[in-house]
């Protein structure tokens, strides 16, 4: 099975962690099914690093016009490579940009498209794959109908697996058409870890009593190098921006570590954070539903516990980093 992955870069041209995760996934599939793993990236400065994760052929497109994400040009270029290389499988990450173009790509390449994938492809009478559904409240086994397949892999579900290989690196160019969407400006907090990219997310709820107390969440996140998040009521009250709202109708979180401070754990919130690997809850109420979903818990007042935790983590980091 000939496989293509779309290896995404950040604004500076560095490959994202997601790119290595989908490379690891694709390389495992090729090991079982034969064929080689091709990777397409745009303006990557460290494209060769994909060879550590089993990518046989790295195609780097160096074109300033593709520096910023554009859905129509990106999907056109990716589908062109997918069709020209006669690939059967395209692997995407679950980033915002990959999900933006996933549906478009499936139409352009006439492929079966499955998102939130958490398993490898299984060969049977028909190929099947398992995905997260009902906001992490269930797993669904999906049968592939078409000959071509596009899978968007759920973040952190597969992990990074090093497998150094000797790779061919080539360059490619495309005819770029003028974009219909003119990006006028980008508002982005620099130097801040995003919820999507973070390994650790620190989240606050109404138990923190007001936006003026958010230094607790921010300081803890800073010590851990994590992102800050909040519960739905907190964003509805305007204490924190919508972009920080995690849960069923907000952002999903699939970090390694999720720390919930003063969040009782409504079913919608728990669903959204369920795919995080390790969950810690700090809450005064021992009956809070979050204690049933968490791995570790402290029953206590956040205003006392969190400053102590920050101090102890600083000591820990000083010794261990």
């Amino acid at each position: 099975m000939e496989i293509l992955i779309f290896a995404e870069t950040d604004g500076e041209g560095n490959l994202k962690k997601d790119a290595y995760e989908i490379a690891s996934y694709a390389s495992e599939i090729s090991l079982e099914n034969g064929g080689s793993v091709n990777a397409l990236c745009f303006n990557a400065t460290n494209a060769e690093s994909l060879s550590d994760y089993g990518v046989n052929k790295i195609i780097n497109c160096k074109n300033e016009e593709l520096k910023n994400f554009d859905p129509s040009n990106y999907s056109k270029c990716i589908s062109e490579v997918f069709n020209n290389k006669e690939c059967n499988l395209l692997v995407l990450s679950s980033s915002s940009n990959s999900k933006y173009i996933g549906g478009i790509l499936s139409v352009l390449t006439d492929a079966s498209y499955v998102t939130n994938v958490i398993s490898k492809l299984t060969n049977g009478e028909k190929m099947t794959v398992v995905r997260n559904t009902f906001t992490n409240k269930a797993f669904e086994t999906v049968e592939i109908i078409k000959n071509k397949i596009i899978l968007a892999i759920s973040k952190n579900s597969y992990g990074l697996k090093e497998k150094p290989v000797k790779s061919e690196i080539s360059e490619i160019n495309f005819n770029i058409s003028e974009s219909k969407n003119k990006v006028k400006s980008i508002d982005r907090a620099t130097n801040k870890v995003t919820i999507a990219d973070a390994d650790i997310v620190v989240s606050g709820g109404r138990g923190l009593k007001g936006p003026e107390n958010w230094h607790l969440v921010e300081n803890l996140a800073e010590v851990l190098g994590g992102a800050t998040a909040c519960s739905k009521p907190v964003s509805d009250l305007g204490w924190r921006p919508h972009s920080e709202h995690v849960g069923q109708t907000g952002k999903p979180v699939s970090s390694n570590l999720y720390i919930a401070i003063g969040i009782s754990g409504a079913i919608q919130h728990l669903a959204g954070v369920n795919s995080s690997k390790v969950k810690v809850v700090i809450n005064t109420d021992p009956e809070a539903p979050f204690f049933k979903a968490a791995d570790y818990g402290i029953v206590g007042d956040a205003f006392e516990v969190v400053p102590k935790l920050i101090d102890k983590l600083k000591e820990f980091k000083a010794v261990n980093d």
Binding site: G102, T128, K137, F139, I186, T249, I298
Partner: protein, 248 residues
């Protein structure tokens, strides 16, 4: 301006998720269905355009007769006409295909679909409609202003937002931010009465364009007990996170 809002009929966020028929289907018994929240933010923005710019709003759903209650709710909130494609879709592509066929026969200036339904979480329908109809697409749209044919929009990106200008016709993947939670409308008695008189068209189909089939469902294993740590023993928590959970 003619607007089409795609409405997904989904279980309320508090619903217990169970499966029936040998774990092959979602168990609808005792479940309250609602307009998919991401679609509702889009519908509410559409109503704003109706009130300010004299837009007309059609709503569409691909589903069997039981989804009509959700379409009626959309009419009660302010949509002008509802369309139901009489088909139980097997996947997101079927939904996108039927809606695209309808769009091709009934031109729209703006098509709004939620970026993702909160039941199957496919997140693929708006992008597929855009590719099938060749209409320009903005996903994760969190602001939308229209004057004549000119569109000023914002899209959520990781860590911030991107401000975009473009033209109609346009399809967006909508979500919170298009309007605020407090802007959502609750149907009033007059709206509900009027909704009964509004047109609800049923379109028959025969083919099944699906690209994937759902085979079975499984629920995650129940979680083990939480390990409680005393608030006087923070070092213990750090030790557990470092050595046991390997999360630090």
């Amino acid at each position: 301006m003619k607007i089409l809002v795609c409405i997904s009929h989904v279980p309320d966020t508090t619903s217990k998720i169970n499966f029936c028929e040998n774990n092959s289907k979602f168990d609808k018994s005792g479940v309250q269905f609602v307009i998919n929240p991401n679609d509702e933010f889009g519908l509410t923005r559409a109503i704003w355009f109706k009130e300010k710019n004299n837009a007309t709003i059609d709503v569409i759903n691909v589903g069997l007769q039981d989804t009509e209650s959700t379409l009626r709710k959309a009419l009660a909130i302010g949509a002008d006409k509802a369309v139901r494609i009489n088909h139980e879709p097997k996947d997101g592509f079927s939904v996108a295909k039927f809606i695209s066929d309808y769009i091709s026969e009934n031109n729209y200036d703006l098509i709004i679909a939620g970026r993702e339904s909160i039941d199957y979480n496919g997140g693929m329908v708006p992008g597929m409609i855009s590719a099938l109809t060749k209409i320009n697409f903005i996903d994760k749209c969190i602001a939308l202003n229209i004057s004549g044919n000119s569109v000023e929009a914002a899209r959520e990106i990781e860590g911030g937002k991107e401000n975009i200008s473009t033209q109609l016709p346009l399809i967006i993947g909508g979500q919170k931010g298009l309007v605020e939670e407090s802007d959502l409308r609750i149907p009033n008695m007059r709206g509900i009465m009027m909704a009964r008189k509004k047109e609800l068209v049923v379109v028959e189909t025969s083919d099944d364009p699906s690209a994937t089939h759902s085979k079975s469902f499984e629920k995650p294993q129940p979680k083990g007990e939480v390990t409680l740590v005393s608030s006087n023993d923070i070092e213990k928590l750090i030790d557990l996170l470092h050595n046991e959970a390997k999360a630090l």
